[in-house]
Subunit: 252 residues, 2 copies
């Protein structure tokens, strides 16, 4: 039975995709079998593993609409123990098309149930919104990992995200837990960043991972080579931080 | 007749709000009458001018649903010549509730028509998605300003955004133009950043503003004081860049 984790935060550009791609790679490097589901119509997680636009024929949109089985959409990333369900821009249409479906919030949950036995972890990358795609991911997941940029607007959004998670818990998914918060793009020379980190640790305590992800240019270069930073530059501070995060995650 | 400009990019965290808030302030500082419309349920532009959560009673959600007139929702920012229409989290519900409305894409356009005579510029901040809120902003606007972070994922999203703008032009708004692209969080010491800038200028030519916005910590500190960076720290590189952008904009 896989541990299914959604990476969600409606604030944009906080490191959801970067964390999904690199954490999945880190877990696979530790010998775990991992599936990463790209739940964002931007398809950045799919790009992050080097898939071209024409390699997304099989994708999540088709699964949610019932046109394909999840099993047939799973592709290998080429990294041992790490598979992917791709996303393409058509996935944006699912936000509107799913509104008429029965049990529309459970489409992804039901699809993932058919493959859950084959994996140790399933990570779902979410778009920067709290629409039906993110709700499908939150309902399918047992817990939520919240990547949080140490900036003011991102901190402001955290309370709103926590309220939304609470609402989903009460309405349709009582077992949804917060797996943790991971601080991203951290630059401790910057006062605002230190302040936000202190605030978040005071507010959420142990829910905040001890490992923080530093701002590191190698992380933002890696996607242009279609590789996770762990493969692109193993010695970088970014790669080391994500390996450490994977190790800390395995202890939980 | 106001010049109505939407600040749009479905990629998250690229500087849409920061550009809307600081450009609006720069234009007002040049003596223009400006209205900024916060079209994002996160309400970051509203926060950027220091409005607390309980000061958003009158907001865009009520206007789009027809519960309030736009005129009654306009608030002063306290900055000479600069008014705001606030957003609160309820605006997220408009994405779903508007689907049943007649001419749902034109709700914002029709509302802004009632106040357009009173302003020189109306800037609309968009959420990081291409849903009904962003479509309302694109239909209401005469042109689109695209804030673009000089990073790989953001560049990848640009072609998708340009296609969406083209589709809207053909379907419902033939006069929609691209006002320009402004590069944000630029750090010319970083090779990737220089590469992205070169690519975008080669691809879009004069559509790309000569002014670039540098990565500047004072920009990210300003929202925690509820002020645009131009007021928070006029001498900062970020403030100077936005004043220069406003001047370049006035020449177009
Ligand atoms: N630790 C880091 N150091 C430097 N750059 C980073 C880091 N983490 C992410 N980035 C870069 O910042 C940008 C935003 O990150 P990313 O796209 O992963 O965020 P996101 O939350 O998935 O965005 P969206 O809301 O659009 O889905 C990307 O260009 C990425 O390469
Ligand atoms: N030039 C800059 N230098 C440093 N920080 C910046 C700069 N521009 C924006 N920021 C910071 O980067 C973060 C993202 O910017 P902003 O929120 O304006 O982007 P956005 O595109 O509006 O995000 P969203 O997609 O969530 O609406 C914010 O915390 C902001 O303070
Ligand atoms: Mg992403
Ligand atoms: Mg914004």
């Amino acid at each position: 039975m896989a541990k299914i984790i959604a990476l969600a935060n409606q604030k944009g550009g906080v490191g959801k995709t970067t964390t999904a791609v690199n954490l999945a790679t880190g877990l696979a490097a530790c010998g775990k079998k991992v599936l990463i589901v790209d739940g964002d119509p931007q398809g950045n997680a799919t790009t992050g593993f080097g898939f071209e636009q024409d390699e997304r024929e099989q994708n999540l949109y088709k699964v949610l609409l019932g046109e394909s089985d999840l099993k047939t959409t799973i592709q290998s990333t080429g990294i041992e123990g790490l598979d992917l369900v791709a996303a393409d821009v058509n996935l944006a249409a699912a936000e509107i098309e799913l509104t008429d479906f029965d049990k529309r919030e459970f489409r992804l949950k039901n699809a993932l149930a058919t493959v859950s036995e084959a994996y140790d972890y399933i990570l779902i990358d979410c778009p920067p919104a709290l629409g039906l795609l993110t709700i499908n991911a939150l309902v399918a997941a047992q817990s939520v990992l919240i990547p949080l940029q140490a900036e003011f607007y991102a901190l402001e959004g955290l309370t709103h995200l926590l309220k939304t998670i609470e609402r989903i818990k009460q309405a349709i998914h009582p077992k949804l837990e917060i797996f943790g918060v991971v601080l991203t793009m951290v630059d401790r020379r910057n006062n605002l960043c230190v302040m936000v980190e202190d605030d978040v640790r005071a507010f959420l305590g142990d829910k905040v991972f001890k490992t923080v992800i530093p701002r590191n240019v190698r992380i933002s270069e890696a996607p242009s080579f279609g590789q996770p930073v762990i493969l692109y530059d193993l010695k970088s501070s970014g790669a080391k931080a994500y390996i450490q995060l994977a190790a800390e995650m395995l202890k939980r």
